[in-house]
C-alpha cells in the first residue's frame, strides 16, 4: 500500500472546510505548540470562547481580513500509516480554477456539504470538475451534522442525492463514500462519534489511511517524456548519453522495445540509470535516466513509449478545456500548448460545446469560453505531438494552454472528452 496520499478538499463558502482541515491537523497532532498558541491568542482577540481552528489554515492577511480562502494552500500531516499532502482549495465561486489546480494532482477529494443545506449547485459543480479531472475517489463529508441533531434521515437524503449525481458523472458505487461529521466538535473526523450510533462506516481519517489509491502500473503502456539530455563529456564519462525524465505511465525494464515520438524511431532500452545504480525496473512516478541501445537523435520534448502500444501522434487535438483566465477564449485564438516537456504553438480552430455543469447539459458552438467554463474545442498544433486520451493516460493526455504574449496559463487541457456527458461528437 502506498504510504503517501495526495488529496484535495472542495466545498462552498461557510461549509467549514478550513475548520475541517484545521481539525485534521489538530487531531493528528500536526499542529505544534507555538502555532496553536498564536491561534488561541487570535481567537481570544476575536472574542471567541474556543479556539477557531480555521485560523490554522487561513494563511494570508487579506484572507483573515475577509474571512475567506483565496488560493490553494498545501497542508502536510502524517499518521503511522501514511503521509498526506492536502490541497486545500477555496470555495468562492470566482476561484473555481483553484479546484482544478488542487484536483489535478489528487488521488482522492473530500467534498464538503453543510448538513443543513444539503447538495448545492456549487457541490454539483465541484463534483463535475473532480470527475472531469479524473480524481478517482470522492468522500462526501456531510459536515455540521451536530446542527441537525445528528439526524440519520437528513444524512441519508444527502448521501443518496449525491450518490446519484456522482453516478451520472461516471463514478462507480464503491468510489464514493459519505461520512456524517462535525469538524467543529470532532465527530467522526478522527474518532467515532457517540452521537451517530447509526453510522457504521469509517471515520474520515480511517478512510484516508486505508483507501487503496495507486493503480498497479504493470500492464499499463510505458510513457516517458524526455526532459533533458545528459551528456557529461567528462574524462570519466566521455561518451555517456542518457535521456532524463520521469516515468509518466507503466513500467520500463532493460531490453524493452521502445519507440521515440514524434519521429517514430525504434530502439531498445539498454539501461535504466540512477545515481544509486542501474535499476531492474522503474515504475510510474520515478525519475530516471534511460540509456538506449541505438544512437538516435532525441531531444527534450520527445516521448519514449512502449513500441507495441504507442500514443497517437497528431497535429489536430480534440480536447476539453477548463478555462482559467479572465480574458475569454474565442475561435481562431493563437495559444501555446505544453504537453509533457514539449511546448508548441497552436490555433483554436473550433469551439464545439460549452458545458453547463449545473444542468449537466451542453450548448453547441458557443461564441466563447469564459473564466471557470468548461468546453470542448478543436486545436491545430504547429507540429505533430504525441498524446494519449486523458481518460486512459492522464499524465500524457493533460496539457496547459498558455498565452504566447504574457505567459499566463489560460486553461487546463485534457485530450478527448473525459466527461462522458460532454461528448456529443
Amino acid at each position: 500500500m502506498s504510504d503517501l496520499l495526495r488529496l484535495a478538499t472542495a466545498g462552498s463558502v461557510d461549509d467549514g472546510k478550513s475548520t475541517l482541515v484545521g481539525r485534521l491537523l489538530y487531531d493528528t497532532k500536526s499542529v505544534l505548540a507555538d502555532t496553536l498558541e498564536a491561534v488561541n491568542r487570535a481567537s481570544v482577540d476575536k472574542g471567541l470562547s474556543t479556539p477557531d481552528l480555521s485560523l490554522l489554515v487561513d494563511g494570508l492577511r487579506s484572507e483573515r481580513e475577509q474571512g475567506i480562502t483565496i488560493d490553494v494552500a498545501y497542508r502536510y500531516f502524517a499518521t503511522d500509516k501514511r503521509s498526506f499532502i492536502l490541497a486545500d482549495t477555496p470555495g468562492h465561486v470566482q476561484y473555481t480554477r483553484n479546484t482544478v489546480t488542487g484536483a489535478s494532482t489528487a488521488q482522492l477529494a473530500v467534498l464538503l456539504v453543510d448538513a443543513r443545506k444539503g447538495v448545492l449547485e456549487q457541490t454539483r459543480r465541484h463534483a463535475a470538475v473532480l470527475a472531469l479531472l479524473g480524481v478517482p475517489r470522492l468522500v462526501l463529508a456531510v459536515n455540521k451534522i451536530d446542527l441537525v441533531s445528528y439526524d440519520k434521515g437528513t444524512f441519508d437524503v444527502i448521501a443518496k442525492e449525491f450518490a446519484s449525481h456522482a453516478a451520472t458523472l461516471g463514478y462507480p458505487t464503491g468510489a464514493v463514500v459519505a461520512i456524517p461529521l462535525s469538524a467543529l466538535r470532532g465527530d467522526n473526523v478522527v474518532t467515532h462519534s457517540s452521537h451517530t450510533p447509526w453510522y457504521a462506516g469509517p471515520t474520515l481519517l480511517d478512510h484516508l489511511e486505508n483507501v487503496p489509491v495507486d493503480p498497479d502500473p504493470h500492464g499499463e503502456p510505458f510513457r516517458f517524456p524526455v526532459q533533458y539530455v545528459i551528456r557529461p563529456r567528462t574524462a570519466a564519462h566521455p561518451d555517456y548519453r542518457g535521456y532524463a525524465g520521469q516515468v509518466a505511465a507503466g513500467t520500463v525494464r532493460p531490453g524493452d522495445e521502445v519507440v521515440v515520438l514524434p519521429a517514430g524511431l525504434r530502439t531498445t532500452v539498454e539501461r535504466v540509470d540512477t545515481p544509486d545504480g542501474a535499476l531492474p525496473e522503474a515504475t510510474a512516478g520515478r525519475s530516471v535516466t534511460l540509456v538506449l541501445a541505438d544512437d538516435i537523435d532525441i531531444s527534450r520534448g520527445d516521448v519514449i513509449a512502449d513500441a507495441a502500444r504507442p500514443p497517437s501522434v497528431t497535429d489536430e487535438l480534440s480536447a476539453t478545456l477548463a478555462w482559467l483566465a479572465d480574458k475569454p477564449l474565442r475561435a481562431n485564438q493563437r495559444v501555446l500548448v505544453k504537453s509533457g516537456a514539449r511546448t508548441v504553438p497552436a490555433l483554436v480552430t473550433e469551439l464545439r460545446t460549452r458545458f453547463d455543469e449545473q444542468k449537466l447539459a451542453t450548448t453547441d458552438s458557443p461564441d466563447s469560453l469564459s473564466l471557470n467554463e468548461i468546453g470542448q474545442v478543436l486545436l491545430r498544433t504547429a507540429e505533430p505531438v504525441p498524446v494519449d486520451d486523458y481518460t486512459t493516460h492522464g499524465r500524457t493526455g493533460a496539457f496547459l494552454v498558455i498565452d504566447p504574449a504574457d505567459g499566463t496559463t489560460l486553461a487546463a487541457g485534457l485530450v478527448g472528452a473525459p466527461l462522458p456527458l460532454l461528448d456529443k461528437h
Partner: protein
C-alpha cells in the same frame, strides 16, 4: 515453506521519500530544460545542502548545470562558511557571493536599529539576480514552514521588482510547470515544496548527506533574548542586561546570526535529531527565527517585497 518455491521478482515501489525525491528531480530537470540562466540559492544550511544534493543526482553523471548564489549577511557561523566552501569545491561549482556589507558600505542599505540583517538580504538578492540575468532561482523553501508559504507555487513568478503577488499566481496543474516570463522577470523555484522538516531529516539520514556541525549538539556560549538562545558574535550581543552562559545546544535552522536561535539539545547523531524533531512541540521557525515573530503576517510581507 516449500523448498522449490520460485523466486518472484520483487518490484521496489517508491515510498514517500522516493516520491518526494523523484518530484524534486523532475522539477530541477524542467528548469534546466526551459531556462537560460538558473541559479541555486545556497547558504550551506540544511535545506540548500539538500537542494544541491538533489541537483547532483538529477544530472548525474554530468556536473550540476547551475552556479550557486549566497546572499551573505556577514553574520555567519564559521562552521557554515567553511562547510559551504568545501562543498562548492567538492562539486567544482561556481559560487556567486553577494555581501550585504557592500550594500551597507556604499549606502544602498542602512543597518537596522536591532542589528538584524535577515530582512536586508532582499535588495542584494534582487540586485544580483538582475546583474547576472538569472531567470530561475532555486530556493529551499517548504510549504510546511509557515502559513504564507503554504500558498506558494513550485514555480513562483516574480515581477521585475522581485515581488510575489498572491492573487496573480498561475494555477499549477498536474506536473506541468509554466516557466514563461518576460525580460526582467524571473521565476523562483521550490523543489522542496512538498517536504516537511521530518522528511528533510529522514532523507538526509538515508542519503548520508553531510551537514555543518552546528546542526548537532555542541557546547556554546549563548545568551537569552526574546526567549531564544543567541550566540555571541559581531552582530551585537550580548547587551549589558544579557549574560553569556555555556549551554549544550544545536541549531534547527541556520540564518543570520543575529536572529537565529539555538535549541537546547543533546542530539549528536541523525537518529537523535530525528527523534527530537519528531517529538518537538515547536515549529522550526517558531523555535528559532526571531524575524518571523516580528508580526503575524511577517513572512507574507517579506515575500511581497521579494524575500525568499
Amino acid at each position: 515453506m516449500s523448498g522449490t518455491s520460485v523466486p518472484t521478482a520483487t518490484v521496489e515501489t517508491l515510498d514517500a521519500l522516493g516520491r518526494l525525491e523523484s518530484e524534486a528531480v523532475h522539477i530541477m530537470r524542467e528548469v534546466a530544460g526551459e531556462f537560460d540562466r538558473p541559479v541555486i540559492l545556497f547558504s550551506g544550511g540544511k535545506d540548500s545542502t539538500l537542494l544541491l544534493h538533489l541537483a547532483v543526482k538529477a544530472f548525474w553523471p554530468a556536473p550540476v548545470p547551475f552556479p550557486l548564489l549566497h546572499v551573505d549577511t556577514g553574520h555567519n557561523f564559521d562552521e557554515v562558511i567553511e562547510f559551504r566552501d568545501r562543498v562548492v569545491e567538492r562539486y567544482g561549482l561556481r559560487l556567486v557571493v553577494a555581501h550585504v556589507q557592500d550594500w551597507l558600505d556604499d549606502g544602498r542599505l542602512t543597518e537596522r536599529p536591532d542589528g538584524t540583517r535577515n530582512p536586508l538580504q532582499t535588495v542584494p538578492l534582487l540586485d544580483t539576480i538582475t546583474e547576472h540575468k538569472f531567470d530561475a532561482v532555486f530556493g529551499g523553501g517548504r510549504r510546511d514552514e509557515e502559513r504564507a508559504r503554504a500558498k506558494e507555487r513550485i514555480f513562483s513568478l516574480r515581477n521585475a521588482f522581485g515581488q510575489w503577488e498572491p492573487r496573480r499566481q498561475r494555477p499549477e496543474l498536474w506536473n506541468l510547470y509554466n516557466g514563461r516570463h518576460r525580460p526582467g522577470e524571473h521565476v523562483r523555484v521550490f523543489p522542496l515544496s512538498n517536504w516537511t522538516e521530518l522528511d528533510v531529516w529522514r532523507y538526509i539520514q538515508r542519503e548520508a548527506i553531510e551537514l555543518p556541525s552546528i546542526y548537532y549538539a555542541h557546547d556554546r556560549d549563548v545568551y537569552l533574548r526574546d526567549g531564544m538562545w543567541l550566540a555571541e558574535g559581531p552582530w551585537g550581543g550580548p547587551r549589558d542586561s544579557e549574560t553569556l552562559v555555556r549551554k549544550t545546544i544545536r541549531y534547527r535552522t541556520v540564518g543570520d546570526g543575529s536572529c537565529t536561535g539555538a535549541v537546547e539539545s543533546t542530539a549528536t547523531t541523525l537518529d537523535e535529531v530525528i527523534a527530537e524533531v519528531g517529538a518537538s512541540r515547536l515549529t522550526e521557525r517558531g523555535a528559532t527565527r526571531a524575524d518571523d515573530r516580528l508580526s503575524e503576517a511577517a513572512m507574507e510581507d517579506r515575500k511581497r517585497e521579494g524575500y525568499f
